[in-house]
Symmetry: C2
Subunit: 506 residues, 2 copies
């Protein structure tokens, strides 16, 4: 069922031929949906959770000891703390920071008015038109890293674009890191599932960037979920001790299916998500003041038929807008939303849900958008075609955000009205000739021809066209250049650690 | 190729079983993307068009005479007028007005914070999974009126849901009006292609509502395009003389493909659209001060490959947001956007484009959204399945707009945190049990089940599910009750006019 193997050419020249859009520097205003009364209500709920409800830091005495030492109120493993204190700790995190990429042209600034798109994270399955649905493996992982590297609208590589299930869990993070570090030169995340794996990630990043650069800059980040409701386990706190203590980034994301891991109300779930992520941010700032931190939110609604999570629905849409506003008030970079769907295939449902989810994510000002391309099945499956379909659409959002509405004198086109009469047309006028080549964004996968032209070339639907594009991309992939000594050092690190580690499959 | 004929049952009781969502009364704030400088630039361009460029009122001496008599500057057929005067005339139009429906429960208020969704208008072709693509006919028209009537998220019937090409052009408006007036009890539009057809529409509406009601209320509207650029032909001015003089509504819509009917820049096209529509509004207010008027905008981008119009792209998205803000400043109800796409079928392209187009339409505050469901092929084709797929998604927008984020005490769910421990779940707690049934909107056509459950019921994509729903709806359609004497009078009017009119096919 696997895709056919493809030879990987290594390029000799110094340019890769991959043109990346820069990350988005937004000029468009934000869409603030909350009024003062709503803000007060939500923020006082957040503060009430800090002070009265508390958040458990479980199975990690080291974390609990730090909280105790710093003066938090501990009861069992529940940590409660004055809201002012938690907020003042969060204020120590940078409002924006830059994650360096191996290729400096692909470094991204996260926070403020900047918005960065990364692909799906964490799916155990993959799907494409030829191979159908199957477990992810290292071959698929390589394909997905290459596609992400090649697509101009993805600014960041993410990390687990699929789970490579053919490699032991205890070792796969090494192969995944090696793939990101050699098959792509975009920035990426590291492992978090166990403290030693987080350490491997940081150590391998140090091989790529060198100790001095890493001491001074964020070059890798860990992305972790809290165990909602109101629970932070040691995966989170241990990853923070590795990444944050080293000055690297942490993305902390409460995943709340409203009605299960949070109250069935959107407002309460939003407040809970803020409280959980901010409490971890405060912990991170206790570890290392000024460590880069991204406040995450992943809120899903529920199908009443089955209790299954639903995506692209009005509740997560409004929560995206709301949390954008709340995050800006706290001054923390935000991760939320994505191109999310519960659909199993690349059909209209997938696209409707992904578009509504992503439109609100974009307008909400999310600074780091994991899952911005490739999602199927509520995140259980990475679609090759879906990845490219979503990524193509991201170019549209990029233009809306970074250009807004141009009202320069040239954009007002007054000279054109001197040339064109009432009832005439602007097709050949000087203003059009000057501007038409940059006037419109057209995704490569949209077919806007008339029905006859479309039928002539085979009446292909979007996923068929996406499949052709995927194959073309993989066939023309060229590895970006890398210093051979760095590549060798990475390979040696991976080999050594694989020797040391047992094969563990869970 | 036509669908199988279906018997139309007439119901006897007084309830129709069709539950319509009320039109949207928005609580969500607007998304204002323009700053003061942009607004000044755009509005001064609009004023410059009024005063210096002018707009042609062609082939209609009656319209030109009125402008001349009222003091506009006429040169050939170009009308120029002081901007203050045009704006003061526009200010005479109501900021919002109610269009009565035959069933009072379905009357809609258009303008202000109200938003009303209507289906596609004007497609010569139809498509469904069984019949494929074919010319529209009266049977298809009946089907589409029924589906629109039955779908709770469509508040308004529109008018030309497809062109019934099997009826002569000279007579088809009569059959279309009769269908809207008897197969549905939602509000609808009338004909505009010729003055006598507009008159038939108004006369038939008077049969339904009676002269007194019609004298005091808007019960029907005409929707017309200007001939961009900068040209208003007699179709527009004659329709205005029929509808507006009778106190009925006019929707006036510049259709601008940027680079063809307007400059290739979005800002200039937006300003031109404002100027064209406002100039017609001014004309309408000269005819009858206070006549209901909807300022329309239909802006499309262009494929560089072929010059074909493209939809759901960043340029129309930003234009939707911008024109929403400009229309609110002028104080006129706005028609813009819709669920637009250039795709030929109900695939992911159709859904991505429709969703981005509609998301921005919705957030922009469009008060009357024609084309909110059913579009394919840039408006050349009405999809049966697409109509229902889009309409299902409209429920999500409806919830976002009309509910915003509920932060009531119950929504904050503090009692739930007394029941649920850290790491627990909210599935059975009292707050969830109180609220879960109304907590989430779930479109009927979204499948959020896991892949195994989805495969068990046939691995159906969204359009297959939509096709089943369409067939179920048409099979269970029941005609809404109507006073038999009104029905007879309408039938007699249609019969008499068909006698009088020649058969003309173009």
């Amino acid at each position: 069922m696997a895709r056919r193997a493809r030879g990987t050419r290594t390029r000799e020249s110094n340019t890769t031929g991959v043109v990346a859009s820069p990350y988005i520097q937004r000029v468009l205003p934000y869409f603030d949906v909350l009024d003062e009364e709503q803000i007060v209500k939500l923020e006082s709920q957040v503060d009430w959770i800090f002070e009265d409800v508390g958040i458990a830091f479980r199975d990690d005495p080291v974390a609990l000891d730090l909280w105790r030492k710093e003066g938090a109120q501990i009861e069992g493993d529940i940590v409660r703390a004055p809201a002012d204190w938690v907020r003042s700790l969060c204020a120590k995190a940078p409002k924006q920071f830059t994650q360096l990429a191996r290729n400096p042209e692909r470094s991204v600034t996260i926070g403020g008015t900047n918005q960065v798109f990364a692909p799906i994270y964490g799916a155990p399955f993959v799907r494409d038109l030829e191979g159908g649905r199957r477990y992810g493996d290292m071959a698929a992982f390589h394909d997905l890293v290459k596609l992400t590297y090649m697509h101009p609208n993805l600014h960041h590589g993410g990390f687990v674009t699929c789970e490579p299930c053919d490699v032991p869990v205890s070792k796969r993070h090494l192969d995944m890191l090696f793939a990101h570090m050699t098959l792509s030169d975009k920035p990426h995340l590291g492992a978090i599932t166990e403290m030693s794996r987080a350490q491997d990630s940081v150590d391998m990043a140090e091989i790529v960037f060198g100790k001095d650069v890493m001491d001074a800059h964020c070059v890798i980040m860990g992305n972790v979920n809290t165990n909602s409701p109101l629970l932070v386990d040691k995966v989170v706190t241990e990853a923070a001790r590795v990444y944050s203590t080293r000055g690297q980034g942490m993305v902390v994301v409460p995943f709340i299916l409203s009605g299960a891991m949070g109250p069935v109300s959107t407002a309460a779930s939003v407040a809970q998500a803020m409280a959980e992520a901010m409490m971890v941010c405060a912990y991170v700032q206790l570890l290392k003041p000024g460590a880069p931190f991204i406040l995450g939110n992943f809120l899903s609604s529920m199908s009443l038929k089955s209790g299954a999570p639903t995506f692209g629905m009005p509740e997560p849409v409004i929560s995206n807008y709301a949390i954008g506003q709340l995050a800006r008030r706290v001054g923390l970079p935000l991760r939320c939303g994505g191109s999310l769907t519960a659909s199993k295939i690349e059909d209209a449902q997938a696209a409707y849900e992904s578009a509504d989810s992503m439109h609100s994510t974009m307008m909400a000002g999310a600074n780091f958008v994991l899952h911005s391309a490739g999602w199927l099945e509520g995140g259980l499956c990475t679609g090759y075609e879906k990845l490219i379909m979503d990524a193509d659409r991201l170019g549209s959002y990029q233009k809306v955000l970074s250009q807004g509405l141009d009202v320069s004198d040239d954009a007002m086109a007054r000279d054109a009205y001197g040339e064109v009469e009432a009832g005439g047309h602007f097709l050949g006028c000087a203003h059009t000739m000057r501007n038409y080549q940059t006037a419109f964004y057209e995704p490569q996968l949209s077919d806007s021809e008339n029905v006859e032209s479309w039928e002539e070339v085979g009446s292909k639907d979007m996923r068929t066209r996406a499949n052709e594009r995927v194959n073309h991309m993989l066939d023309t992939y060229v590895e970006p250049p890398i210093d051979p000594s760095i590549r060798d050092a990475l390979a040696a690190y991976v080999a050594k650690r694989k020797e040391e580690l047992p094969d563990a499959w869970y």
